[in-house]
Amino acid sequence: MQVFLQTLIGGLSLGAVYALVAMGFSLVYRTMGLVNFAHADVLMIGAYTASTFYTSTRLPFAVAMVSAIAVTGLIGLVIERVLRPLENKDVTLMLIGTIGFGMVLQAVAILIWGATGRAVPSPVKAAPLQVLGLRIRTYDLVVVAVAAVAVVLLVAFLQRTKRGAAMQAVAMDHEAATAVGIHVGRSNAIAFAIGAGLAALAGGLVGPMLYVSPTMGGTLGIKGFAAAMLGGCGNIPGAVVGGLAIGVLDSYAAGHFQGYSELVVFLVFTAIIMIRPTGLFGETTVSRA
């Protein structure tokens, strides 16, 4: 039982990061129908930027994070602008286009920061908490809290603001949205920038937990995608649940299968998604061809 709970807690913090990745991914998917394969590399850039600001300029961690979000938001705008001609047309081409952007971002990261990674010191120096015999790292709590705040802010933005409502309207029906006066391109660009910002947030938070390297996006990104699909692509609460689920699954797989944890995670994910292709919260409409 003790081990079970300890594993669960271990999984939640990484799960919160996956949830952030999944949310950014879902937001872009929901508004543009675009699967952003560069998302993982945007995350990596965010992680590098945040850690650079934090370690070399001695900015407070929070400020470093905000700067990283701004930088990646800008990258998001560029990606959206370049791929805009393909919007609402060929999904496959856009997907390949974002993979191309991913290659570019990775190369840029290597040029700036070198091919070898770096470790980021934890910004929270407090000793781990002991609760009911469970060991909880304080930084993990910070990660979960920040992720929770991000979820609340995103949901509030989408539910309470005019811009948020417009963004959802564009996703549901871009022609009708145009007819009521919404600038579809601008709305998409903002969605893309927010998505990129969320990736940077995830990257910045995960930096002190893992090792920051040009290829760190790969696995994190794919697991974030998996989380989004598990929750039902485009569904924000689903992305959160999916992220936590993948995090916990990860943690258990690491405990039971050691080195093979990733293989196990992807096999389990594939099995679940085969049974429910639209995810746990997605609408069950499967085309039969």
């Binding site: 005019k162 417009a166 959802q168 549901m172 029906d173 022609e175 009708a176 007819a179 009521v180 600038h183």
Partner: protein, 251 residues
């Protein structure tokens, strides 16, 4: 918003807001969906366009909205509408109710209506008033204001689509097949709404397959076939025309 008004107003009093369409054509790839269509909608006038599927009715409306590539002249009041982008058309006082309703299904009824007033601040008194008027015109929407639009019945969604377009306080309303898929009773309700809007001085351009609804809701009609206007006349004349009956018996 920068409104590209190309022609400065020459007269002291602008000639109302007449929609003037001359030589309007729409091409999709190599296909001409609309060929050189002319008509006008005077202030307060209600004009209907009837025709079979594929005759070019919907394309005509979409061309007016700037949603499809078009050629020809479109003027609304003093504005050259061909220079106005689709997202700005609503800012010139033209509302649009698309075919098949196209409400935003995952948003609540009230959100849908408010998005109709996207071009104005939502907290303004004007928007609040427009919202109240919409609920007064469609009481059922008031009862369902917190429901998701996708959960509404077809008739309610149609009301919502009309209500959404009215939120922008247009002077001209374009309606694309509001009767589609509705029962005769609901079509009657739609007709009543259209009559009331006319009484309030709104200009209407109604595209329909339902001949009865069109003839009763409008004063003048065009008949389209293969992208061309093949007949025009007052609704009363066309209603009794044997050719119309022959072509549109069973639209």
């Amino acid at each position: 918003m920068n409104e590209p008004r190309t022609v400065p107003a020459e007269k002291e009093t602008p000639p109302g807001d007449t929609l003037t369409v001359e030589g309007l054509s729409v091409h999709y790839g190599g296909v001409r969906a609309v060929r050189s269509v002319d008509f006008t909608v005077a202030p307060g006038q209600a004009v209907g366009i009837i025709g079979a599927n594929g005759a070019g009715k919907t394309s005509t409306l979409k061309a007016l909205m700037g949603l499809v590539p078009r050629s020809g002249r479109i003027r609304f009041g003093d504005t050259d509408m061909t220079a106005v982008r689709a997202r700005d058309v609503v800012r010139h006082g033209i509302g649009y109710v698309p075919e098949g309703r196209h409400v935003f299904p995952g948003l609540t009824v009230e959100r849908n209506l408010l998005l109709g007033a996207y071009t104005r601040p939502w907290r303004s008194g004007r928007t609040r008033r427009a919202l109240g008027e919409a609920y007064e015109l469609f009481p059922v929407l008031g009862e369902m204001r917190g429901r998701l639009a996708g959960a509404l019945s077809g008739g309610q969604q149609q009301m919502l689509a009309v209500g959404r377009a009215l939120m922008a306080e247009p002077r001209l309303l374009l309606l694309d097949e509001p009767s589609m898929g509705l029962s005769p009773k609901l079509v009657e309700d739609i007709l009543a709404v259209l009559r009331r809007l006319r009484e309030e001085g709104l200009s209407l351009l109604l595209v329909e397959q339902n001949a009865k609804l069109t003839f009763e809701a409008t004063s003048d009609c065009l008949v389209m076939e293969n992208g061309e206007v093949v007949m025009t006349g007052t609704s009363a004349e066309l209603r009794d025309d044997v050719r119309v009956r022959r072509i549109y018996l069973g639209l």
